[in-house]
C-alpha cells in the first residue's frame, strides 16, 4: 500500500495549472487578459492547430521590467496585488499571479518582453516549468508570449481536447468576448495567415460588435443606458427580430471583465418576454461599471464567475434599461423583415456609419428612426389566415391571428383603460382544483385586467363576474374556460409585473384564438390593419412572432426581372 507523502512541487504546479488552463481557449484568455492589464492599445493573437500547437499573444503594453521576468513565472507572483486590503479593490483582470506560471508548467513557453523604462528586452524560454534560457535581446516595448505544444507533458489533459477546429472556434469565441469587453483595444486574431477577427480599437462598442457579429447584426443593435448612484449600465442589445437559437452572443462585462452572470443576462432577456419566441435569445453586450468593492471576482480560478453585491437590484435596473431601449426602437421599420434582407442583401457601410453617428444617445435613435407610416390599404384576405395589403412602397402579408393577438394585448395592457364589462349573470367555471387554486392566486392581476373572479365554495368551481371589455362581445363559450386554464400557468411567475403581462398575453391569445379563421369583409380587414398600426409595437405578437412581412415593390420588380 502506498504511503501518504507530500507531492513534489512540480507535480503540485502541474495539477494547479489545470485549474487555470484547461484548453487553448482559456490559455489565450489568460494571456490576453494580461495584455489588457498591461494597458495595451492593441493585441495580436495567432494560433495554429486550434491553439494546441501554438498560441502567440503580442501586445504593446507596458511590458515586464527585466528584473521581474523570472519572478513573473513563479506561481502567485503578480504585480497586481500586494496585501489583503487590495483584494477588495481589484480593478485588473488578473491578480492571482497564476496564469503565466500555470501555462509555463504545461507548455513550451517563450516570453519576450521589454518594459518602457528598459534599454533592452528580455527573452525567456521555459519548458514544462523549467527555465532553459534567459537572454537580453533587442525588441520594441511590449510583451509577446508564445505558447507551443500545450499540455505536451500532461497527456491526460491533452486527451480531453477536441479537434483543432473545435478548439480553435472556442479560442476565437473567447477572444471575441474580450474584444467586445474592451472596445478601446484593437484585436487581430489570425491562424495560418488567415485573419479571423479584427477590431479597430477606437473605443466604439457598436464598431466592435459590427466586427465580431457582422454588419447586419450591428444594424439591429440598440444602445441601452442607465445610471443610478454609483452604477452605470451601458451596452448594446438587439431588436427582437434579431435573435439567435443560443446564448453565445451574450456577454456581460463587469468593470471591463467579461464574466458569466446568468442573473443579469436573464434580466435582459426578460425584457423581450412578449417579443421573442421561446428558445430564441437576443444579442447582448451588457457593460456594468460599479465600485470595485461591489464585485468579488475571487470566486473561481478562471475568474469566469464574479459575485456582485445587490445583484437583484442590478438585475431590475438591467431589465428596465432594456425595456426602455427596446421601447424606444418601436415604430422603427425593421430592415431585417423586408424581403431584401431576407434574400441576404447586406446593409451598406453608409448605413452603418449612420448607426455610428447615432452613438449612445438613445433619444437620437428614436427621432432619427424611420417612423411607421400610414397603415397600408387592405387588398384581400387569403385562406382566412392572412391579409394582403399595400402602400406606395411595399406589399404586406399580415398574419391575421398575430395581428389580433397584438391588438388585444395592447388593449388589455393599457394602464389608463382597464375596464371590466360586467356580466348579466356571473359565469360559473369548473377547473381542476389545482388550476383553480392557481387562478385564485392571480385574482389581483385578473381583476386589474378587468376579469373579476371568486371561489365558489366547492373545489375547482369559480365564478367570473366580468370580462375585460376588450374581450366582451367576442364570445363567452369556451373563452372563459380556456382563458382561465391558460392563465393558471402564469401563477408560477414570481415577478409581479411579469405575472400581469403573462396574464394579459394569455387573454390576448384567447381572444385571437376565438377570431381565428374569421372571414373578414373589406372594411373589417381595413379596420384590423388600422388598429394594428395604432399599436405601440405592431410588428410582433406578444409571443414575439412577426406579425407581417413586407415586400418592397422595388425588390419585387427586381425579382420579376423588371429592373
Amino acid at each position: 500500500m502506498a504511503a501518504i507523502r507530500t507531492l513534489p512541487d512540480d507535480l503540485i504546479n502541474a495539477i494547479a495549472a489545470g485549474e487555470v488552463v484547461e484548453r487553448p481557449a482559456s490559455c489565450a484568455k489568460e494571456l490576453v487578459e494580461n495584455s489588457l492589464d498591461a494597458q495595451s492599445s492593441w493585441v495580436e493573437i495567432t494560433y495554429r492547430q486550434g491553439g494546441m500547437a501554438e498560441i502567440t499573444v503580442a501586445d504593446d503594453g507596458h511590458g515586464i521590467p527585466a528584473g521581474e521576468v523570472v519572478l513573473a513565472l513563479e506561481r502567485h507572483a503578480t504585480s497586481k496585488l500586494s496585501d489583503f486590503a487590495d483584494l477588495d479593490q481589484i480593478t485588473s483582470l488578473g491578480f492571482r499571479g497564476e496564469a503565466l506560471p500555470a501555462i509555463a508548467q504545461v507548455s513550451r513557453l517563450q516570453v519576450l518582453t521589454r518594459a518602457a523604462g528598459d534599454q533592452t528586452a528580455t527573452r525567456v524560454v521555459v519548458e514544462g516549468g523549467r527555465m532553459l534560457l534567459r537572454e537580453r535581446v533587442a525588441a520594441a516595448c511590449g510583451t509577446t508570449v508564445a505558447v507551443r505544444d500545450l499540455f505536451f507533458n500532461t497527456p491526460a489533459r491533452q486527451a480531453h481536447l477536441r479537434s483543432a477546429d473545435v478548439e480553435g472556434a472556442r479560442l476565437v469565441q473567447e477572444v471575441s468576448r474580450l474584444a467586445l469587453a474592451a472596445p478601446a483595444v484593437g484585436f487581430r486574431v489570425s491562424t495560418d495567415q488567415r485573419l479571423v477577427l479584427a477590431t479597430d480599437g477606437n473605443g466604439d462598442l457598436l464598431a466592435a460588435a459590427a466586427s465580431v457579429w457582422g454588419l447586419d447584426v450591428a444594424e439591429d443593435l440598440v444602445p441601452i443606458f442607465d445610471q443610478h448612484s454609483d452604477v452605470t449600465i451601458s451596452g448594446l442589445i438587439s431588436r427582437p427580430h434579431r435573435a439567435r437559437g443560443n446564448r453565445q452572443a451574450q456577454i456581460v462585462v463587469v468593470n471591463g471583465r467579461a464574466v458569466n452572470n446568468p442573473r443579469l443576462r436573464y434580466a435582459a432577456e426578460q425584457a423581450y418576454r412578449d417579443h421573442l419566441m421561446r428558445g430564441r435569445f437576443p444579442y447582448l453586450v451588457l457593460c456594468l461599471q460599479l465600485p470595485a468593492r461591489n464585485v468579488d471576482p475571487n470566486v473561481h480560478p478562471s475568474k469566469w464567475e464574479v459575485r456582485l453585491r445587490a445583484e437583484d437590484e442590478l438585475a431590475a435596473h438591467v431589465y428596465e434599461a432594456s425595456r426602455r431601449a427596446l421601447g424606444l426602437e418601436r415604430r422603427v421599420v425593421g430592415e431585417s423583415q423586408t424581403w431584401a434582407s431576407a434574400q441576404g442583401a447586406t446593409p451598406s457601410v453608409a448605413d452603418l456609419s449612420q448607426a455610428h453617428q447615432i452613438g449612445f444617445e438613445p433619444v437620437h435613435l428614436a427621432s432619427s428612426a424611420v417612423a411607421l407610416g400610414d397603415p397600408p390599404t387592405a387588398v384581400s384576405q387569403v385562406r382566412t389566415l392572412f391579409l394582403v395589403a399595400a402602400d406606395e412602397h411595399s406589399l404586406y402579408l399580415i398574419d391575421q391571428h398575430a395581428a389580433h393577438e397584438r391588438i388585444a394585448f395592447e388593449a388589455l395592457s393599457a394602464v389608463d383603460r382597464p375596464q371590466a364589462q360586467l356580466f348579466v349573470e356571473p359565469r360559473r367555471v369548473r377547473l381542476l382544483p389545482a388550476e383553480a387554486a392557481q387562478v385564485l392566486a392571480l385574482q389581483a392581476e385578473l381583476a386589474e385586467a378587468g376579469m373579476e373572479i371568486d371561489a365558489l365554495g366547492s373545489q375547482g368551481e369559480l365564478v367570473v363576474r366580468s370580462l375585460p371589455s376588450a374581450l366582451a362581445g367576442v364570445d363567452q363559450g369556451a373563452l372563459v374556460h380556456n382563458l382561465l386554464v391558460d392563465v393558471a400557468a402564469c401563477a408560477s411567475v414570481s415577478e409581479a409585473t411579469e405575472r400581469s403581462r403573462r396574464v394579459r398575453t394569455a387573454m390576448a391569445a384567447c381572444r385571437a384564438a376565438v377570431k381565428r379563421g374569421d372571414r373578414l369583409s373589406a372594411p373589417e380587414q381595413q379596420a384590423l390593419i388600422d388598429a394594428l398600426w395604432r399599436c405601440a409595437e405592431p410588428r410582433h405578437c406578444p409571443h414575439g412572432r412577426p406579425v407581417w412581412i413586407s415586400l418592397p415593390f422595388g425588390s419585387l420588380e427586381h425579382h420579376l426581372g423588371r429592373s
Partner: protein, 370 residues
C-alpha cells in the same frame, strides 16, 4: 327515378325559402341539398341544418313518384333564372337530375338521398298545438333578437332565445349574450299552451321570416319547437341549459330615472363612439343637476361631449357603457321615447318604452372603470 312537371313560377319561391334552412358548410354533405319528394301530384321540398328545418309543399304534375337530393345552392340559383312562364320538366335518375325548360337543358349531379336524415315536422304533436298570429311572433322577436349571442362558439344557451307561453295566451321572449338582455311580451290567442323553450336565435329568426303573414300553429316536443302555416312547415331545435333569469335582475326601484328621445341618444352615442378606442370602447353617461350627457375620450381619437335633452329624477349617476350595447338597446326599443333607470354605476341599467313598461325592457350591463 323521379320525374315531374311544374311551372317555373310555382317552383322558384319555395326553393328560395327552403334554401334558408340548408347547411352552408358541408360538414354533412347531404344537408347542403334540398330533398325533393314527389307523389300524388304534390312535391315536398325539405331543407335542414339540424337547428332549423323547413318544408314546403307545392302542386305539380308528378309523372314518376320518388325522391332526389339536389345541391341546394345551384338548384335555387338556376330556378331563379328560369323564365317564370316556362314549364319545367325535372327528371332525376342515376345520380343526375335533368331539368328541361324552353330550349334549355340542365344536368345537376345529385347527392346521395339515403344519407339524408329523417326529419320530424311534428305531425304527431300538432294535435296539442296552438294557433297565434305570425305578426305577434315577429313583433316580439324584433325587440329582442339583437341581444342574443352571435358566434357559433358562444355558450350554446346564449345563442338561444327563450320563448315562454303561459296558459292565458301570454307570450314572452327573452335573449341575452350575458352583457345585455332584452325581453318582450305580448298577448296571443294561443290560450292553453304552457311551456318554456330555448331555441337558437338564428333558426327562430329564419323560421319566423319564412312564415306567411297569417295564423301559425305552434307545437312543442321534447327536442323541437314546431311551426305550421299554410304550405309551410318547420321546426327549430331546442337548446338545453339554464337561461339567465331577467326577473332576478330587475329591481323594484331605481335610484335614478331619465326619460330621453331614442333618436337623440342614438345619434349622440354614435358620434361619441367615434372618440372611443375601438379596441375597448366605452361612453360615459352622466345624469344630474347639469342634465344628461354622453361623453367619450381616448388618447388616439380625441374626446366627445354630447348634451342630451332629457328629464331626470332621483340621484345623480355616472356610468360607463359599451356604446354598441347602449345603441343596440335603443334601436330595438320600438318606441320614440324611453325611460332608463339606474342603480349606481355597477348595476344593470333598465330601459323601457315610455308609458309602456310592460311590453318590453332591455338591461344593459355597465363597464366597471378602474
Amino acid at each position: 327515378m323521379l320525374s315531374f312537371e311544374i311551372p317555373a313560377s310555382r317552383l322558384t319561391e319555395p326553393l328560395q325559402l327552403v334554401l334558408r334552412a340548408t347547411a352552408t358548410r358541408d360538414l354533412v354533405p347531404a344537408l347542403t341539398g334540398i330533398l325533393i319528394e314527389a307523389q300524388d301530384d304534390q312535391l315536398s321540398l325539405t331543407g335542414t341544418d339540424f337547428d332549423l328545418g323547413l318544408r314546403m309543399s307545392v302542386d305539380a304534375k308528378v309523372t314518376s313518384p320518388g325522391r332526389a337530393l339536389i345541391p341546394a345552392r345551384s338548384l335555387a340559383e338556376l330556378a331563379r333564372r328560369i323564365p317564370p312562364a316556362s314549364l319545367v320538366e325535372v327528371k332525376a335518375v342515376d345520380g343526375k337530375a335533368t331539368m328541361r325548360f324552353g330550349k334549355s337543358r340542365f344536368d345537376l349531379p345529385t347527392l346521395i338521398d339515403t344519407d339524408y336524415p329523417s326529419v320530424d315536422f311534428g305531425a304527431d304533436s300538432q294535435g296539442e298545438g296552438k294557433t297565434l298570429k305570425a305578426a305577434a311572433l315577429r313583433h316580439v322577436l324584433g325587440r329582442v333578437t339583437y341581444a342574443a349571442a352571435q358566434r357559433d362558439d358562444s355558450l350554446p344557451i346564449l345563442l338561444g332565445i327563450k320563448v315562454s307561453f303561459n296558459s292565458d295566451g301570454h307570450l314572452e321572449v327573452c335573449a341575452s349574450d350575458n352583457f345585455r338582455l332584452a325581453w318582450a311580451q305580448t298577448t296571443t290567442e294561443a290560450v292553453g299552451l304552457n311551456a318554456e323553450v330555448v331555441v337558437k336565435a338564428r333558426a327562430l329568426t329564419e323560421m319566423v321570416r319564412s312564415l306567411p303573414d297569417e295564423d301559425v300553429r305552434v307545437a312543442l316536443s321534447e327536442r323541437q319547437m314546431f311551426f305550421r302555416s299554410g304550405s309551410v312547415q318547420g321546426f327549430c331545435q331546442r337548446v338545453e341549459g339554464q337561461f339567465p333569469d331577467h326577473r332576478k335582475l330587475i329591481k323594484e326601484t331605481y335610484e335614478t330615472t331619465i326619460q330621453v328621445q331614442v333618436a337623440d341618444v342614438i345619434q349622440a352615442g354614435e358620434r361619441a363612439s367615434l372618440a372611443t378606442d375601438v379596441r375597448s370602447p366605452q361612453v360615459i353617461l352622466r345624469a344630474g343637476e347639469d342634465g344628461v350627457s354622453l361623453s367619450a375620450e381616448s388618447a388616439e381619437m380625441g374626446s366627445a361631449y354630447e348634451d342630451i335633452p332629457a328629464t331626470w329624477s332621483g340621484a345623480p349617476v355616472e356610468i360607463a357603457f359599451n356604446p354598441k350595447f347602449l345603441i343596440d338597446a335603443l334601436k330595438n326599443a320600438g318606441a320614440e321615447a324611453v325611460d332608463i333607470g339606474f342603480n349606481g354605476p355597477l348595476s344593470a341599467a333598465r330601459l323601457h318604452p315610455t308609458g309602456a313598461p310592460d311590453d318590453h325592457l332591455a338591461l344593459v350591463l355597465p363597464i366597471r372603470r378602474m
